[in-house]
Symmetry: none
Subunit: 213 residues, 4 copies
DNA sequence: AATGAATGAGACTTCATTCAT
DNA sequence: TATGAATGAAGTCTCATTCAT
């Protein structure tokens, strides 16, 4: 009935939930879950506070939905990796996670903090575990194929996973202005994949190795 | 020599700040900084809410004091490391951090979350940077001595630091029941130091390497 | 034309700020600024405590808004004075101020007390100074026209201003039951204007008596 | 039993109440009654908070005692006036009050604010009324002796009293940095006594009168 | 479906007063 | 008598949630 077409994003109620989620993510990334207010989320989404509650029953529900979508995004990251060598695979994986961390700062911090809430914790656990399992399965396959030293595959996966998580958090903190981070995701990814595969120790007989694969 | 041990909270006023800090750490670890209430901290410390403010000017000040004491504890961890080989040094460092994470679950998460508060962020930054610098200095010395492959020392330190931070978080999440963590700190530490030093790649000529140093 | 007059506090949101200000004035006048609680102001306005903060960011802001509206009311009082003789003008000014004091008891006391807060003090200062300047300008004009004895115009204005302020406070205190005040504003106004213009000294012959010093 | 004579003001318990009152007055003058804290009063008096309660049962009792001592001081001001002419008497009275206001800034504001407390109000009322009555008696005597115009003596006293109160408040506000006040108490006193006695109106036949004595 | 004013529980913090030492 | 740590009621302000329009 209104004859103005000036608001482009205001005539697609079907997109409302996604818009709200995107806005909520931005606000969570700015303030963290607890300090984010529904008022700010609504403003960021360009709707009123009441509208939020037409699509999500509570602030917590928004976070749960966000966890789902984030987990989905991570899973796609892993599935998209197609590499001939293990080193490349690892580098791609690291790079994917680091890029995500740059584009969605504070996401991990938000999620971790959310762990304090038991219900959210269970939800998040389910999501992550599934992703972890995919990764671990790939690792075990490679390990079994003899491409890796006879190291406990759990240790190997833990080493990689921890390194990535630590890096990710480093990047997120950098996004809040907390730390410096001069290298690009790709650079870091290759360097770390190299370290992980070949180790730090100098090997006299191997001369001239740089951190180019 | 004093004849009263009946009042639990009436001991020595000189211990009050430490008691409050310990209580606050427990509550922060249970709930995170934002969700922790001064009422709960006071109850956990066995004092009234007002007493908190006889020792700390604000809730935030309690967290700042906690950061200081945590940073001090970490610095001592690093200073206590005396090892003949780099691998041992790394293993000890990892083990120290993992033990701390087990004894003070969620501390890191709490601190990270607190970064959202700019003032706390600055404080924490100062603390961490100092510790980081110690570690990096040791690393550079070793790197210069030729014990390491000619890898960017920044990358090396980042690899180690990230791995440790990631592991730490993993352990903390495990403490909240979020994840399994079957190995002991020492086992993990040695295995990871091995990976870090020697890499994951199988080396035909090196046979029989286990993850025993 | 709307068919509901049953909910007393649900009228027009546009009137809410004025309603809150009126309620706050009543409460401030009962208790003074410091002792007035937001709970009591909200109750007096017939709204919840939170609603206060939908319209004013703080208790102090309510007082600032009240100062503005009071200052505006005073300025109008002065502008409305149209008199042929100086004596009439003074009498009207006094009467206007006294009537205000009767209708808004304790307002001046509240404002003065509020001076203890530096920010409020600055705000109030700006308001009052402007009003004072209007008054002083009129006085100087009269003085320059020769209608007054060659008295320091600052002294004259100070005499009038102080007398009015003192009277006002007397009336306000009377309103709290502190003092008696049998005469009407107009009676007092005329009597004082007379004293101010002609002095207290008896002049039997009403001519040229020199005054001892 | 202690052999140190270093604290000079610490060995006269009999002076303690007066010391506390003096400290309380200074603090009240800085902050007003409500914002003054017992902690600050104790610190200003150089004693502990608990000691306050060995001499006064409550914060309010300190204010009551202060009112008594202030009223006594005012009464002495009035009794000390010995002047041959009414104008001198008035000038001395005004000067005495203005000096008091300069030396004890905010006292009047504190007292006025205290009126909001009914018990304090009654107490203050009794004190002030007695002083007022002295003043009014003198005024009536002079009026009856024919020294004043046949003006309602109530009006005359009200004019004088209000003027003084207004001036006093002006001076107190100036002490808080609120307003300018360039003249000395004596100058103001003489000028105002002149205005009050002789009026503002120009009298052609009286030439050359200035407000210089 | 959308709005945003209203709500009220609850957070952090202050401070007059008490009391064991 | 002097102390000052402890107390807890009460104050200001925030914010997730509801609901009349």
């Amino acid at each position: 009935m209104s004859h103005e077409e000036s608001q482009p994003a205001r005539r697609r109620p079907a997109q409302r939930p996604a818009e709200i989620l995107a806005a909520a993510e931005r606000v969570f990334n700015r303030c963290g879950y607890d300090r984010a207010t529904t008022r700010e989320i609504a403003a960021e989404a360009g709707v009123s506070e009441g509208t939020l509650y037409n699509y999500f029953p509570s602030k917590r529900a928004i976070l749960l939905a966000l966890i789902d979508s984030t987990a989905e995004s991570w899973r796609q990251d892993i599935e998209c990796i197609h590499a001939s060598t293990l080193e490349d695979a690892i580098a791609q994986l690291i790079a994917a996670r680091l890029r995500f961390a740059q584009e969605h700062p504070l996401t991990i911090l938000t999620l971790q903090q959310a762990v304090l809430d038991p219900e959210i914790g269970r939800h998040l656990d389910a999501m992550v575990t599934r992703g972890q399992d995919d990764l671990m399965a790939r690792f075990r396959a490679l390990s079994a194929s003899g491409a890796l030293r006879p190291i406990d595959p759990f240790v190997a996966e833990e080493a990689l996973g921890s390194m990535i998580m630590g890096l990710t958090i480093g990047i997120e903190l950098a996004a809040v202005g907390w730390h410096r981070q001069p290298l690009s995701p790709e650079e870091i990814a290759h360097a770390l994949a190299d370290v992980l595969m070949n180790g730090l120790r100098a090997r006299p007989e191997e001369k001239g190795t740089s951190h180019e694969s």
